[in-house]
């Protein structure tokens, strides 16, 4: 799976939009970009996935430029409950024995009142 680079930590205030950028210079043609969120004392949970351009769901948006060498997770109007570690993963979505998730160190987002 492609190696990813994210900021170690970010601080924000309630109500702000937060953008977390992930670099993945060696992304392959078949690779997707997937983000997981992990709250303290819980396992990670899936939040969004994309291949190119923009993807939006009820939780976040994912922006992917044309060269796909980076991506940006956007969290609109964060609240205290968005304080978590966010992981960017890049890889083939084939699943099975080839679909293992390889996590980096993630970005620890701290939202302050």
């Amino acid at each position: 799976l492609a190696k990813t680079t994210q900021p170690i930590s970010m601080d924000s205030y309630e109500g702000q939009e937060v953008n977390i950028t992930c670099s993945h210079n060696n992304i392959a043609t078949n690779d997707y970009i997937t983000w997981y969120q992990q709250f303290p004392s819980q396992g990670p949970r899936f939040i969004i996935q994309g291949y190119k351009t923009k993807v939006t769901n009820e939780v976040a948006s994912l922006f992917i430029p044309a060269d796909r060498k980076s991506s940006t997770l956007s969290l609109p109007r964060v609240s205290l409950s968005d304080t978590a570690v966010y992981y960017c993963l890049v890889g083939d979505t084939g699943g099975g024995s080839q679909g293992n998730l390889i996590f980096g160190k993630g970005t620890k987002l701290s939202v302050k009142p």
Binding site: Y32, T34, Y36, S41, Q42, G43, P44, R45, F46, Q49, Y87, L89, G91, D92, T93, G94, G95, G96, S97, G99, N100, L101, I102, F103, G104, K105, G106
Partner: protein, 114 residues
């Protein structure tokens, strides 16, 4: 919702003990995984299994073994626990045709080896 249940949230074991960490999923997933999570290192894959009685080494299998006798259960075994195995252990499962968005994790077992 699929559930991945880890038998213990907290465990304290002595050095040299044989330790079993149990994980059960209730949605007939083919794939199951064991990760450990340490501060500053993120999650690292220990072992995974894509079928009953099948297992594959992950990135850090040394000092661990696994057992998958039934589809729903995946056990992580520390043959002789050591203090450097103090960590948070996370189990996950997924369907074989699902990709990176289809993983469900348990809540973790925090193991302390003294």
């Amino acid at each position: 919702d699929v559930k991945v249940t880890q038998s213990s949230r907290y465990l304290v074991k002595r050095t040299g003990e044989k330790v079993f960490l149990e994980c059960v999923q209730d949605m007939d997933h083919e794939n199951m995984f064991w990760y450990r999570q340490d501060p500053g290192l993120g999650l690292r894959l220990i072992y995974f299994s894509y079928d009953v009685k099948m297992k594959e080494k992950g990135d850090i299998p040394e000092g661990y073994s696994v057992s998958r006798e039934k589809k729903e259960r995946f056990s992580l075994i520390l043959e002789s626990a050591s203090t450097n195995q103090t960590s948070m252990y996370l189990c996950a499962s997924s369907l074989s045709y699902q990709g990176m968005d289809g993983y469900t994790f348990g809540s973790g077992t925090r193991l302390t080896v003294v």
